[in-house]
Amino acid sequence: MREWSGFSYIVTNLARFVRPREITFSGVNSALPMLACLVAKQAYDFDFTYINVAGGVDPRPSKVPISSSDPVLAEGSRSIFSNEDFYDLCTRGQMDLCYLGAAQVDGLGRTNVSVIGDWHAPKVRLPGGGGGAVMLPTAKRAVTWRTEHSIRTLVETLDFITASGGMHGVVTPIAVFMKREGRLVLSSWHPAASLDEVRARTGFAFEADGAEPTAPPTEAEAAALSKLDADGDFERDAAIKLR
């Protein structure tokens, strides 16, 4: 195999958070989690419910859309689960796993998606948290991802705390973190990286007991992603570099 690309690394490791019989959600601005859910549906030999922000419930999309909120993600659904519905599902504690975006993540697994600089005098106004502030503390497990692994994105101190709470895992092009006793702990690193590299490129301190190189994609995982991104458009658009 060629070097495991950052794109495939993130999608595959996001997919690995999906568990049998659970309800898993992907939202807006979330092409990688959308692909991860579709990979999981193809690659894993268990049943789970995939709901998404387009109202889809276990959809059979005729293609993979560029926009992760595209109505094509509801094609073939037997029901429409609307926005109010999936938020309520989450706040009442029935959402097993949801993927939420982040610009900055700190060592407690809190996220900033609001602003770089001071909120009232922003250097960069970011999109805003969307589901985060409500879903992160109320989902059973929340997972985020960053396409850049650096001390700018994995920080000691957030510029603003958009959301705080039940972060379960963080995936970057070179590492997978999981939360343990309230802090992010390194779970595994990209086979082409190293523990030292992860430490050097991470802004917060973390434990790494038991961490090891991430298991490479299974045949089924690799095949599912190849099929979903047959032309390589998503990989090209995502433009994720290991370094």
Binding site: N29, D70, S82, G130, T138
Partner: protein, 275 residues
């Protein structure tokens, strides 16, 4: 027994109902099923000081910022999406302090709309604990008066002046049908003072009688409707059409003439030119 009169009016008249300074709950999400023809018509008519209330605005809020028509926004997440990233004119407007943003989580905005729809002054909302948003917005915590020890954030009522919905199909009398997800359109239609609709198609009233369960908004909640083919352009209106990505790409270009070119190339403008 009197008969219902039609609620269908031209787009120019629909836009004329919206005064300067109005707050608008805009239906849809990002590039999908937004009432974009009306948003553009408000710009053409020179509307000022508008407020956008929407969980996930994108193109709509960006073009209003670009045209200098926006003063305030309450939003959960703002982006062009579909690989276009941030909404650049919105971003600049916030960074330069040209618009006042009230930053929400999508569900807190929904909670505020629910308070309005349910006729109560505030609405408890799950989550939010540990976020900086309550401090920013002055949201209060209320302890459960029934002694569970649980504390919950109360979101104040949000009552937009208008909900503006992009419908797939409407009846002449004003009934509104959408296909696929309703996004937050339903709660918007129940929380705003007045409901305006841009509709892709006029459908026979009999088709509404045959499947009344599909009607999202009953006629009596709707004030006026314009039927505008491709009214959600350059966004999608499933199952009629998908996002026009080249058009969005053209819009994203900087330059003095781009906005006017974009407005002029919109379906409702070309339709008007032919009329």
């Amino acid at each position: 027994m009197a008969s219902h009169s039609s609620k269908i009016i031209p787009l120019t008249e629909l836009a004329a109902l919206v005064a300067d300074g109005s707050s608008l709950a805009l239906g849809g999400s990002f590039l999908h099923r937004g009432p974009f023809a009306l948003v553009r018509e408000l710009i053409r008519q020179g509307r000022k000081d508008l407020e956008v209330v929407k969980q996930s605005p994108g193109y709509d809020i960006d073009i209003l910022c670009r045209a200098g028509a926006l003063a305030r926004a309450r939003a959960g997440i703002v982006a062009m999406e579909g690989n276009f990233g941030l909404a650049p004119w919105y971003r600049k407007a916030v960074e330069r302090g040209e618009i006042r943003l009230e930053e929400h989580a999508c569900a807190t905005l929904t909670a505020g709309l629910r308070a309005s729809a349910f006729g109560v002054p505030f609405m408890p909302c799950g989550g939010i604990h540990g976020s900086d948003l309550p401090g920013l917005n002055g949201w209060k915590q209320i302890e459960d008066p029934y002694g569970t020890g649980e504390s919950v954030y109360a979101i104040p009522k949000i009552t937009p002046d208008f909900a503006v919905i992009m419908a797939n199909e409407v009846s002449e009398e004003g009934d509104v049908r959408v296909y696929g997800t309703s996004h937050w359109d339903r709660i918007m239609s129940r929380s705003a003072k007045r409901v305006l609709v841009v509709a892709e198609k006029l459908a026979p009233s009999t088709s509404f009688r045959e499947q009344p369960e599909l009607t999202m908004i009953p006629h009596f909640l709707v004030e006026a409707i314009s039927v505008v083919e491709n009214g959600a352009w350059p966004g999608s209106c499933w199952p009629h059409y998908e996002v026009d990505y080249p058009a969005v790409e053209a819009y994203m270009k900087d330059g003095p003439a781009v906005l006017k070119q974009h407005l002029d190339s919109a379906p409702e403008a070309r339709e008007a030119a032919h009329a």
